[in-house]
Symmetry: C2
Subunit: 233 residues, 2 copies
């Protein structure tokens, strides 16, 4: 059994993992993608996707790899959140975890199971299950970061489909910021930034006046950013 332990060092080393907080959004709710653990510890419990960092990859690459392996998600906005290192956070021993959060289009990713995950599923962040490890703490921090960040970086668009209505956009902000926003003032503010492209398309088969579709002008945003433009809501 001891023979298995073939990687030896002069000083003890913690294990290093990543955890991913993947946010999604549908019209009514902010959601987080969780996987049901297929192995111990916490077998059967819901947890954030993640896993051990390999020696030939950065933590960010590791997070993206695990994200893809466990959920099929790739090519998404991902950002380092925080590194968690409490001594007792993992019953297997000393494990330090670098957490990343990611915003994806919910509809594009049907939850799928793989590897260590018996199944993956979207949960409302407000009514999710209790989580393994210190993942509730990690989720809380991710929510806090998202709430702060969405006001001055146009990351919210990552959560919406390519095309969206103004009402959908406003609703996203209302749900994440947990406040209601005046419709006219919100539109004025967004319009003035001039970062939306109005599409030649409207809603269809809605039992009310059909709303115009817009898309986010990412190219223009990046240009403006370079010149010191400040997105702020």
């Amino acid at each position: 059994m001891e023979k298995e332990n073939k990687y030896c060092y002069k000083y003890p080393r913690p294990a290093v993992t990543t955890d991913c907080i993947i946010f999604g959004f549908d019209e009514s709710d902010l959601k987080v993608l969780l996987i049901e653990r297929g192995i111990e510890p916490f077998k059967g419990k819901w947890a954030l996707p993640g896993g051990f960092v390999h020696m030939d990859e950065t933590t960010e690459e590791g997070a993206k790899r695990e994200l893809f392996e466990e959920t099929g998600i790739k090519d998404v906005y991902i950002e380092q959140l925080f590194t968690f290192s409490d001594l007792e956070r993992d019953p297997r021993g000393r494990v330090i975890s670098v957490a990343y959060f990611s915003l994806v289009q919910l509809n594009k990713y049907e939850a799928k199971a793989g590897d260590d995950a018996k199944r993956a599923k979207w949960f409302s962040v407000k009514n999710g299950p209790s989580l393994a490890f210190d993942h509730e703490k990690i989720l809380r921090m991710a929510l806090y970061r998202l709430k702060g960040k969405i006001r001055y970086q146009p990351i919210g668009f990552e959560l919406l489909s390519e095309k969206f209505t103004f009402t959908e956009l406003q609703h996203l902000y209302e749900v994440i910021l947990e406040m209601s926003i005046d419709k006219r003032n919100f539109r004025k503010k967004i319009q003035k930034m001039d970062l939306l492209i109005e599409l030649d398309e409207k809603q269809e088969n809605v039992a009310h006046k059909a709303a115009k579709y817009y898309k986010f002008n990412k190219t223009k945003y990046e240009e403006l950013s370079l010149k010191g433009f400040n997105f702020e809501i």
Copy 2:
């Protein structure tokens, strides 16, 4: 020689270190505390203080311990900055570093040497030496964070003495934000927050009108924060 490697694991593990970016301020400049490396790699080069994380401490505790050991600094504001994990960042092998930044009162801490550090010294962040490892990258990120953070959190006061004049405070903001600020507007804004306590004391032996001293009302800030108050400059 192989006998020394007595900590063995089933899978390879990166080493984990911390690095500290310690900012200080004097009337004319933002400074960073660096140590001259006493051992290889990069022996003789300037670097951020830091070192390996122990198994019985969190990364934050490790950062504080190293900070104290190498510079004598303790009981200061410290905040996690970012975790750096590029594969080639350390010639000794795979080393992941959790960086913290800290704001201290420059005058309170005479640079002192210890441990692996032949000597420690304050440098202007604008005219520092080239640094070991990826520490220039880390420093750049810390500066960026400081610049962003100082606008909406009253962390700048950590850099000043207990008592300070309005001009000193303004100068701090001007140096960190790299912009000039209108004196009257700045005073108006700060005064309105009502977070400064005017002391019964003035400058002495200055060849001009003596300025009043103020101190930061930390207690009041904490109270107001709980009620949702927003510091913002």
